[in-house]
Amino acid sequence: MQAFLDDLAMMAPAVLFNLYFAAASIPVGFVLAIFLALGKASSNTLINRLSRGYIYAFRGSPLFIQFFMFYSLALSLNMTVWRPLGISGFVLHPLFMGPLVLVLNTAAYTAEIFYGALRAVPRGAIEAARAYGMSPSQQFRRVIWPNLIRLAWPAYTNEVVFLFHATAIVYLALPVVGGQKDLMITAKDLFERDFNAFLHFPVAALYFLAVSLVVFFIFGLIYQRLMRHLPQPGRVRFMPRWMR
């Protein structure tokens, strides 16, 4: 029991790194995903192809490989690009590279969710907006987006939870700076000290589980608020359809 509490205390600072990675990448990924989804729905051939290709590539390859690839790619550009700009230490820091790759990755998954929702927005609503004489940007802000986000929210909730889970592999792929260790590395280090697999990994899992539940709770509240105009608001279910 004491060992369990010790582990809980030791991993408390570690979970902050996972939370940071998720919190730093979710908002940026969200915005990027909107543009990518619109790009995939665009009638401009070039934009359409690029968005489609991007989404396909990042959903079709493992995040683990993406981490390795972008770190070594950024490293090889260091002398010619980052150093002259004076941002070398910043760009190659895991606290920057981690969220960067997570953003690139989650943007693709989220864009696919948004794209699906975009196609499900009732045509009649858009036609009515056009009939009112709304400009395309007005149509998007007032009609398409409110519909889209309601349709996409349950799937997006799952994406956020799985993005949080994906933070577990950041430090398995990137160098560790100073004592900055996330849950996985902490659990692994503790395990290699006393081989107690049945203690350290489950404690790390508990942290992941707890944060996942909190995310579900918060996102569920937001969903209820989004759906407050409906007599019986739906509920977010833990039913992921896309993951990395």
Partner: protein, 250 residues
């Protein structure tokens, strides 16, 4: 317990006496040239591979090489996945708490700093520098204690990865074994150079064994003594480390 084993771990079954002994499994990292590395054919090679094979021949053991990631090389020895570590591992008091070592087969060797040519660093009072080390090495614990508070210590899984970051300018300096760095500095043609003062840590490089494996330790110790006496160790050191040795000639 991250461990990487090669599917085709080279089995060095040496003839001589047909001792009914089990195979001795020797772990090495395979990413620490010229100590141990994987050659173009994908097989382990280097100073310690040559020496390990010589030890096995001397002691009439049948040996098998296993490639294991550095960061879990001691845990996996303790867990019994192999019997011996020959991976450029320095004998230190810290490690002697958990495992035993044979006598050293490479004398105490200063750790040294390298920098990119054209950069400067005030080693007398080092602060604000990005120092690269390989995780779990004597240099890593030295850097953490002595440089940690004022500098950023960046830990890499292999020495080669740290070297890649130094070459790309992401590190100000690397602290590593002199005998690992010397060939790199020589081969870099002036691109990478030594700097600062040498750091004396460690009691030489020996083979790691489990504490309860006294028999194997005695066997390997005897073989190393014999190989030191007949000059094999010095020959191998001269072959792999230019300008080193002879250390064990009478």
């Amino acid at each position: 317990m991250k461990k990487i084993m090669l599917a085709a771990a080279a089995v060095v079954a040496l003839g001589g006496s047909a001792m009914a002994q089990e195979t001795v499994r020797i772990a090495t990292e395979g990413a620490y040239a010229p100590w141990n590395f994987l050659d173009d054919s994908g097989a382990p090679a280097g100073f310690e591979i040559d020496l390990g094979n010589a030890i096995c021949e001397q002691a009439s053991l049948s040996c098998e090489w296993i490639i294991n990631d550095w960061d879990s090389i001691i845990p996996n020895l303790l867990a019994g996945n192999y019997d011996l570590i020959m991976a450029g591992m320095s004998i230190t008091d810290e490690r002697l708490v958990t495992i035993d070592f044979t006598q050293n087969y490479f004398p105490p060797d200063p750790s040294r700093y390298v920098i990119l040519a054209g950069t400067e660093l005030d080693f007398a009072n080092l602060s604000g520098a990005r120092v690269g080390v390989q995780g779990g090495t004597i240099q890593a614990s030295y850097a953490e204690t002595n440089l940690g508070p004022n500098n950023t210590i960046i830990t890499f899984a292999t020495a080669d990865q740290a070297m890649a970051d130094l070459a790309a300018g992401n590190l100000d300096t690397i602290l590593a074994d002199g005998a690992y760095l010397e060939p790199v500095v020589t081969a870099s043609g002036g691109g990478i150079e030594f700097a600062g003062e040498d750091v004396l840590i460690g009691n030489g490089v020996g083979a790691g064994v489990r504490k309860d494996d006294g028999d194997l330790k005695a066997t390997v110790d005897a073989a190393i003594t014999a190989l030191k006496r007949d000059g094999t160790v010095d020959t191998l050191i001269a072959k792999w480390f230019e300008g080193h040795g002879p250390y064990f000639a009478d």
